[in-house]
């Protein structure tokens, strides 16, 4: 219990820290949204007028307080450039990015965990080597390149075996769920295969450690076959570790996702962020960055709590340091 309270306090503190860092960092950027809006060939007076209109001339502390106060109310402000509420902006983009991440993760888990188990169970050296090499190569492919290869292979219209659309998101978005999912398949496969390969290695090493720990022996002595013991007992024991790994992977996937979004022309958070930074739409950018950071902090928090829930030994420990590993 004390742990949870402490972890929550830390979460809040981290959120505050992130908000300050994000806000401050963005103010160092040269140029502002007013000059972007005015563009070439507008007189300076117009830029100044726009600045005044958007409140960009107020002291930074006031601007921060204004923003932070909005955040507390759950109001992320209004994007100056697009005129839309940042909340709806983020929601629209997140409705592409998060399904993509989740799909990618599903692919990764579906590839990584069974292969990891298979690699653990493999009895012949040749099979083990094959899994090893596959895992190594899969995890070493740059997302950008892997995506291109998949496009070359499977993109509808251009690929060798045209199956899936390779760019864009259906205009109707999730109103047409079939199409929406369809357009996310290649991107999700790209992220999923790469992440799945490393997940496979994690699964294998976690299972390997457990297989040597006597718990598998015990289960087998009770009458399980090796396969049963590894999938039943081993996976369950590896779960806390795997949850942590997946949590981290989740966060790290966003890099690949940003690249992939650009490559597949998906108007998600990744591609949106880059444009917004370019346009100096700082209110939108700071809220988006803050939201993303908050989201990943939240994932971290959930993973930590889940980790504890999954391991009864941790559930009663006051401090993670008390239990090794």
């Amino acid at each position: 219990m004390r742990f949870i309270v402490r972890r929550l306090l830390l979460f809040v503190a981290a959120l505050f820290g992130v908000s300050v860092v994000v806000f401050a960092a963005l103010r160092i950027l040269p140029g502002d949204v007013a000059s972007v809006m005015a563009g070439l060939n507008s007189p300076a007076s117009r830029v100044e007028a726009l600045r005044e209109q958007f409140g960009l001339n107020r002291p930074l502390v006031v601007q921060y307080a204004d923003w932070a106060e909005g955040l507390l109310r759950g109001d992320f402000g209004t994007s100056i450039l697009t005129g839309r509420s940042v909340t709806s902006l983020i929601a629209a983009r997140a409705s592409i990015t998060f399904p993509l991440i989740v799909l990618g993760l599903l692919v990764a888990i579906m590839i990584g965990v069974p292969l990891g188990v298979a690699a653990t169970l493999a009895r012949s050296d040749a099979a083990r080597t094959a899994f090893h090499v596959a895992g190594l190569i899969g995890g070493a492919i740059p997302a950008l390149w892997g995506g291109l290869l998949l496009i070359l292979l499977f993109a509808r219209g251009t690929g060798l075996i045209g199956l899936f659309p390779s760019q864009g998101f259906p205009l109707d978005g999730w109103a047409a769920p079939g199409q929406a999912v369809w357009s996310l398949i290649l991107p999700a496969l790209t992220v999923g295969i790469i992440v799945g390969a490393s997940l496979m290695r994690y699964t294998r090493s976690a299972l390997g450690d457990i297989a040597g720990s006597g718990r598998i022996d015990m289960a087998m002595a009770c009458g399980m076959t090796r396969a049963q013991a590894v999938t039943g007992v081993g996976l369950r024991l590896a779960m806390p570790q795997l949850v942590s790994v997946i949590g981290l992977t989740f966060a790290e996937m966003i890099t690949g996702v940003m690249v992939i979004e650009n490559l597949f022309a998906l108007p998600g958070i990744g591609s949106g962020l880059v444009t917004d930074v370019g346009n100096r739409d700082l209110i939108a950018v700071q809220s988006e960055l803050f939201m993303l950071a908050a989201f990943f902090l939240l994932v971290g928090l959930i993973v930590d709590l889940l980790h504890r829930a999954l391991d009864p030994r941790l559930a009663t420990a006051a401090d993670a340091t008390e239990v090794i590993a």
Partner: protein
Amino acid sequence: MWRRSEGKFALVVLGLWLFVALVSLFWTPQPLLATDGYHVWAKPSAAHWLGTDGTGADVLSWLMAGSRTNLLIVVLTVLFAGAFGLLLVAAMVARKSALAGASVVVIDALISIPTVLLALILAVPLGASITVIVVACGFGYGLNLARVARPAALLAARSSYVESALAAGASGWWTFVRHIVPNTLPVLLVQLSLSAGTAVLAESGLTYLGIGVPSGVPSWGHSLATSVKFINVYPLTVLWPGLIVTIVVVALNVFGDVLRDAADPLSNPELRRS
């Protein structure tokens, strides 16, 4: 190391990398800066073994020169991550439980922030630069390193040999440098080699997003990013940097595994011969 086939592979690839990076400082098949607008996207020829890119520059020369940038990035990132990670490990195994507890929780919180977010924020004041890659990756991987190394480090920190050393009057620092680090080294080596590989991958991703290596600086990510859009027209030009990155990353990962086994007296009986 050499005796195992994967060790051979890793050493050959990494050796070649180092060699090419050094050579590229003095010599490339074509001058790096030479562009030729009349011969863009040329097919491989005697003068241009891998053809030319969109400016008519020699692809091979850029890849060779790119190897030194990537080497620099990898070395700096690994050093940064290693130093930062070790610092965190030191904090986590500190005998002051407040420091240890706080560092664990802080790491757990920070580790969930993706590298690319950090890079995006860093790129704000710094612009696209190698520094962005090194600092963002180094920071993220350092956190990762600390987290992964924690069990081994804690095991060592609470071991009787550390107790014995402490009982004999050793300082905490002595035990950290002489006992805890060497006994965490296998994990550190593997993790650092993973970080090195990830840094190569991150370079290509961040450069593609425009927050990595600045224009005009040769790097594999640069070669990849500039040729990517021509994949339908000139697929070979995209093939090379991607292939190089993949092979190098595999080699780095394998290198870590093999190095761990080869450099650790526990797993390498050779080293135990007196």
